[in-house]
């Protein structure tokens, strides 16, 4: 899948065909790419965990092309502004994600973006060959505020939803 196709496929698979937040889009893309979705997309570790310039560009291009809708929302106690993406109903999407990946995305819907961010960061280190403990330590070192014991404890649960 090309980046554009992955973004469309993700949106199609989501409840309400919508993803709230650019960060969330990035983390879901990374988790799916790590879980065997056939795509050759480069992710680097940036401020908020694994990030792909190609995914960011794809979201922008799809918005420009009229294939997805970009909207602004305010969420949380502090009413932070964030961007949400929604698939236009009439747009056909090919290829699509497998049944197992769609099921995983449905399961991931209940986690907060920060929980996904920490889990994705931990997975990034594991994918780079670090053992569990070292990956955990690197995640905590990088995100001391977010990677609290409670949040980090969710990471195995989150990753357990991914198809192998």
């Amino acid at each position: 899948m090309a980046p554009d196709e992955l973004v469309l496929a993700l949106l199609k698979a989501m409840p309400h065909k919508k993803i709230d937040g650019k960060k969330r889009l990035q983390k879901l893309a990374y988790l799916m790419a790590s879980a065997g979705v056939d795509c050759n997309i480069q992710f680097d570790l940036r401020d908020y965990g694994p990030f792909s310039v190609e995914i960011a560009q794809a979201a922008d291009y799809l918005t420009f092309s009229g294939l997805i809708e970009e909207d602004e929302q305010q969420l949380g106690d502090n009413n932070f502004f964030m961007t949400s993406y929604k698939l236009i109903e009439s747009i056909p999407t090919r290829p699509e994600l497998s049944h197992d990946h769609v099921k995983a995305l449905a399961a991931l819907a209940k986690y907060t973006t920060i929980q996904l961010e920490v889990a994705a960061t931990y997975l990034f280190f594991r994918n780079r060959g670090l053992d569990e403990e070292t990956a955990r330590q690197r995640t905590v070192a990088m995100k001391p505020a977010k990677a609290s014991p409670a949040v980090l404890a969710k990471a195995p649960e989150i990753l357990g939803h991914l198809p192998h």
Partner: protein
């Protein structure tokens, strides 16, 4: 440093280093290192000089400015008792070092360099090089001697928001942004949207903001006191104007695309007849993973790009020869801005039809995709970035986007399409105009 040193600077007037202040002695020593001196050979605004001939200032002047800006911020926050007392002198020193060193990992014409690197699937970003330089080069010895190596590296290894000092180096109103906005405005000659820096700094507080109420996660962030809302609005306006007129200028972006195409084409199409080009340091760096170590990277600067383009322009049969000559003579790709004011079904339908029409007319084009997110100049492309600057009033925090009508009206980013020549662009424009 055997005597006091002073540097004249158009933004900060005087940047002074006193032998009586140990922090200044260390900072001066860092200024003399090869990684910092290399920044004299890398322009802050890359190809912007194609549009603004005065924009030739270097990253060297900017990092000195960012360091001075950090000093000013630290002085204000100390005066207003915004920083913790524990270990403050060391934390202050590490913050100043981080401000001075924050750009040492930049490659020549950074945006283009990283775009080509990304196309070639080279994984190391300029931030990664910055960290490697801090940890490994002569700078590491100086920082270690002053017991701040780990503290300084932490600014680049750790997500910001974990402590108050990090807000000075990485936040919506950090020393980097404040310096480059003022500096770039000065050197390009832009006259509008000045920032009242002293009032702005005095209006800032460092507070803990809740970013996840479910997990109880808090991060340190700058918060603007209510008295500072109008000056922050000026900052936002300045950022927007600079982005529209300078950082995302259509001609500058066209030149960036052209330079990227020249380098990428040369790297990826090997032709044995062009020995001098094949052995050029920039080409050998990109082609051979064994040549991508830090030492070779540090040998590259803006002259590497220009010398390569000159070689290609002189090589008549080279595949990128025509492009190289166009670059040297400022015959850039041509741009068509698409209106971003239409919303909903109208825009979507028009955009799809327009692209379809270009393809059926065999008009080659490419959309101006976002540059890599690592560049702060482009942060403002995400409207929410500035809208989420927090304002404090009566003990409560609210995003600037809710408080300020001016900031609510931040326009959408433009959408651009580039064509090889003005003839293709004019044909495309004609198609678009007929669509209504």
């Amino acid at each position: 440093m055997d005597k006091d040193q002073r540097i004249r600077d158009p933004i900060h007037n005087l940047i002074a280093f006193s032998t009586k202040r140990p922090e200044d002695v260390m900072l001066w020593e860092l200024v003399q290192t090869a990684p910092v001196q290399r920044l004299r050979r890398i322009k802050q605004l890359g190809f912007s000089e194609f549009v603004y001939p005065g924009a030739t200032h270097t990253r060297f002047s900017h990092v000195l400015g960012a360091m001075q800006m950090a000093r000013r911020m630290l002085d204000v926050f100390e005066r207003n008792q915004q920083l913790p007392a524990d270990d403050h002198p060391r934390r202050r020193l590490a913050t100043l070092a981080a401000a001075l060193l924050h750009d040492v990992g930049h490659g020549p014409y950074s945006h283009v360099f990283e775009e080509v690197s990304s196309k070639l699937e080279l994984n190391q970003s300029h931030e990664a090089y910055t960290l490697e330089i801090i940890r490994k080069s002569r700078t590491a010895e100086i920082l270690d001697k002053n017991n701040i190596l780990d503290e300084t590296a932490l600014f680049f290894e750790q997500e910001s928001g974990n402590d108050p000092y990090q807000t000075i180096i990485s936040s919506q109103l950090d020393c980097d942004r404040l310096d480059f906005l003022m500096r770039d405005r000065y050197y390009t000659g832009v006259r509008s949207t000045a920032i009242d820096l002293e009032w702005l700094l005095d209006s800032l507080k460092i507070s803990k903001i809740c970013v996840d109420p479910i997990e109880g996660i808090y991060e340190y962030s700058f918060v603007v006191q209510k008295k500072g809302v109008s000056v922050v609005e000026e900052f936002v306006l300045s950022y927007m104007k600079m982005y529209q007129n300078i950082y995302f200028h259509k001609t500058t972006r066209g030149v960036q695309h052209m330079a990227s195409d020249i380098i990428y084409k040369t790297v990826s199409e090997v032709d044995q007849q062009f020995n001098s080009i094949n052995s050029h340091p920039l080409i050998t760096f990109f082609r051979n993973k064994d040549n991508q170590a830090l030492d070779n990277y540090m040998n590259l600067d803006d002259s590497s790009v220009l010398s390569l383009v000159k070689l290609i322009a002189d090589a008549n049969n080279h595949p990128a020869n025509a492009l190289a000559n166009r670059y040297l003579n400022r015959d850039t790709y041509k741009c068509l801005d698409l209106p971003s004011s239409e919303t909903g079904e109208i825009r979507r339908e028009k955009a799809s039809k327009f692209i379809e029409a270009l393809r059926s007319e065999n008009i080659a084009f490419f959309a101006d995709r976002l540059p890599g997110k690592a560049y702060k100049q482009y942060d403002v492309m995400d409207r929410n970035f500035l809208k989420n600057i927090m304002v404090e009033a009566d003990g409560e925090h609210e995003p600037l986007g809710r408080v300020s009508q001016l900031v609510q009206a931040i326009p959408a980013k433009p959408t651009r399409i580039y064509f090889d020549c003005s003839k293709d662009r004019d044909r495309a424009k004609s198609i678009r105009d007929k669509m209504g």
